[in-house]
């Protein structure tokens, strides 16, 4: 994460040099009750106001520094894209002002600007021209664009013959290779296959290194935390929090997942009475440090004697991705017969996860795995905080040595 540190230092040491100033900006949309406004209806109902006002943004003040990468997160409808659009001047604020210092380009879904009957080459020039770049400027980077898009042999074919993937790659390549001082990115990193995404990220890192200002809107808050110098959390058109990426993002995760969706299923011949999450002292706890011990205690009750039940445990992150999973059978532990009440402890001597909120699922199955007796999905959660600044899921011991050769 060299770039992150570099970018971060750049801001700390640099003089205040704003790239974008958002001063008291509010934006109001009219939500029409029925968007059937034709002239006739307008004339008939000319006194009646056929819409409600909706404040998408409410008095936003924000300064984005030169060379900084700002991530914008927030639930749907929080005003992220609206703010971005106003920075590009696609929309105008109702109140306030946005000052942009430098050439700005937005990285939106650019396939929009393509004409299907023109070739890839012609579309590159046209698209760049719409973004405000001259033929000369495009000439200089044309080969780069083509190479980035991986469309080499097809560049002189009409784009209507392109696959949708090729279409998107070409659009993205144009926008990311032209050379704006300020780049706005709206949720386009989810585009293309994985290798193309990786390439795009790589390109964003290199833009960061070359000192470009980047504003990134995304629903992938982890990505935002990963590549941003600061993260802005918008909610209901207001700034909820702005600052250190991991702080904002972890608080965002907490707020977004206060009530985990718990799901229950199974025959309940044997059922889970209670799940406890215990710390090293054996007390119920919700927050742990990385590398601390943790015990998940599953209390069960069997309605009838059950032969060789299998108890399973898994951890999920806030996105529903399984971080870890195991069960008694996999661990070679056999519970010969479950009668009445009992409990199973899953003891983890050291949690090797990094910061985040993790959800616990437990289940009980028959020995052959065919019957699901009882499953509690995401029934409990715990938070992990690490002392270091590493990022990702796992805490690994990483020793660094250095020598000159």
């Amino acid at each position: 994460m060299e770039t992150l540190v570099k970018g971060g230092e750049l801001i700390k040491s640099g003089k205040p040099d704003p790239a974008v100033e958002v001063i008291g900006v509010s934006k109001c949309f009219r939500l029409y009750h029925d968007y059937n406004v034709n002239l006739k209806e307008k004339l008939i109902n000319w006194r009646k106001r056929g819409y409600d006002l909706f404040w998408a943004l409410d008095d936003i003040n924000l300064t984005i520094h030169r060379g900084e990468t700002l991530g914008m997160i927030g639930p749907n409808g929080s005003g992220k894209s609206t703010l971005l659009r106003m920075m590009t001047r696609i929309m105008k604020p109702n109140k306030g002002e946005i000052k942009v210092h430098g050439k700005i380009a937005a990285l939106l879904d650019l396939g929009a600007g393509f004409h299907p009957d023109l070739t890839g080459r012609e579309n590159i020039y046209l698209n760049a021209s719409i973004l405000g770049f001259s033929k000369k400027e495009v000439d200089a980077i044309f080969d780069e664009i083509v190479e980035f898009s991986e469309l080499g042999p097809f560049i002189d074919n009409q784009v209507k013959n392109y696959s949708s993937g090729m279409y998107v790659r070409l659009g993205f390549s144009v926008a990311i290779n032209v050379d704006p001082e300020i780049l706005l990115i709206d949720e386009v990193l989810a585009v293309g296959d994985e290798s193309f995404q990786a390439k795009c990220l790589e390109r964003i890192y290199s833009l960061q290194r070359s000192g470009k200002t980047i504003v990134l809107v995304t629903h992938n808050s982890d990505l935002a935390a990963q590549i941003s110098d600061r993260v802005l959390w918008l909610e209901y058109g207001k700034i909820r929090k702005l600052g250190d990426p991991w702080e904002v993002v972890s608080e965002y995760h907490e707020a977004m997942s206060i009530q985990p969706k718990e799901e229950e299923s199974g025959t309940q011949d044997i059922f889970i009475r209670e799940v406890d999450v215990l710390d090293k002292a054996g007390n119920p706890s919700h927050s742990f440090q990385t590398n601390e011990p943790l015990v998940v205690r599953v209390h069960y009750e069997a309605q009838r004697p059950i032969d060789h039940p299998i108890f399973g445990l898994s951890f999920y992150d806030h996105q529903g991705l399984m971080v870890y999973g195991t069960n008694t059978q996999l661990r070679g532990y056999d519970i010969s017969l479950a009668e009445g009440r009992g409990r199973v402890d899953f003891s983890i001597p050291n949690l090797t996860m990094l910061d985040g909120r993790y959800f616990i699922s437990v289940d009980i199955r028959s020995r052959d795995g065919e019957t699901l007796y009882h499953s509690l999905d995401k029934t409990r959660h715990f938070d992990v905080k690490s002392s270091g600044r590493d990022i990702g899921y796992l805490s690994l011991d990483c020793d660094i040595s250095w020598m000159e050769e």
Partner: protein, 276 residues
């Protein structure tokens, strides 16, 4: 407004590129390609020639080369009507672009005018070539063509900017424009000579008729291209063909229209992305 205009000037390369795209794309997948832009007015010419030249005999007495007279009106009219219909719906048609990327929105309607004027100039060149081939006496006024073209472009731009912006809020505009153009066509001296009006309408009717700026513009084209003083001497004997007063009025009026609708356009363009 001055700032917007400066920005538009900066975007002239974009305007040029979009114009070229329109020209390129228009007949891209047709076999006859660019020839369609010649065939279309030719077919119109045949229809009107048969209907009005042969059947109804509206051509004035003492009017030679009626076919060329027709062409001198049809071509600039087609330029006008096609530019206007294409431009009026241009912002909405390229809505996906307007919603996603910022650029001076004027270039969308203006590029439609640009590509149509390209076609128009080529058509006129072909027409003049034919007139030379058939040894039709031309007048030196023909060199005033760029000026008249400029006047028409100003008038079209004035209407287009207003209509294209209004069309964002009321899609009725684009349909209304098409209808309006049909009526407008017959209120303009294209298939019949202007003398029909002076002979058959009372003075107040003539005055009303001449409120139509397109009438003046078409008369100008006929004057410089068709050379009526030679080719239709008898027909236009008693008519004042060009009055500098009215030409000036049309020019000044068109400029004012252009400025007003540009102002309207600028005031509205910040809201386009919300309404498309």
């Amino acid at each position: 407004m001055i700032e917007n205009f400066r920005e538009l000037l900066k975007s002239r390369e974009l305007l040029f590129n979009l114009t070229r795209k329109e020209v390129k794309v228009k007949y891209k997948n047709s076999v006859l390609g660019f020839f369609w832009s010649l065939i279309y007015p030719l077919i119109m010419l045949m229809v009107f020639y048969v209907a009005f030249g042969v059947i109804f005999k509206v051509r004035g007495e003492g009017m030679n080369y009626y076919a060329f007279f027709l062409m001198c009106g049809i071509l600039p009219w087609n330029f006008f009507s096609q530019s206007l219909t294409m431009a009026a719906s241009s912002i909405v048609r390229d809505g996906a672009l307007v919603k996603k990327i910022y650029f001076p929105r004027e270039v969308l309607p203006l590029s439609q005018i640009g590509s149509n004027s390209f076609n128009f100039v080529l058509q006129v060149l072909v027409l003049v070539a034919f007139m030379i081939f058939f040894r039709i006496p031309l007048s030196y006024w023909i060199f005033a063509f760029p000026l008249v073209l400029f006047l028409e472009v100003v008038f079209i731009a004035g209407l287009s900017l207003f209509l294209s912006a209004l069309n964002v809020y009321f899609r009725d505009v684009q349909y209304f424009t098409e209808l309006l153009l049909i009526a407008w066509f017959w209120m303009t001296p294209i298939v019949y000579p202007f003398t029909f009006i002076t002979q058959r309408l009372p003075i107040w009717g003539q005055k009303l008729y001449l409120m139509n700026p397109m009438a003046h513009i078409i008369l100008l084209y006929q004057y410089i291209l068709y050379n009526p003083r030679v080719n239709a001497q008898a027909a236009f004997q008693d008519v004042e063909l060009i009055s500098w007063k009215s030409v000036t009025a049309v020019a000044v009026g068109s400029l004012i229209l252009l400025m007003l609708s540009y102002l309207y356009f600028i005031r509205q363009e910040g809201r386009f992305a919300e309404f498309i």
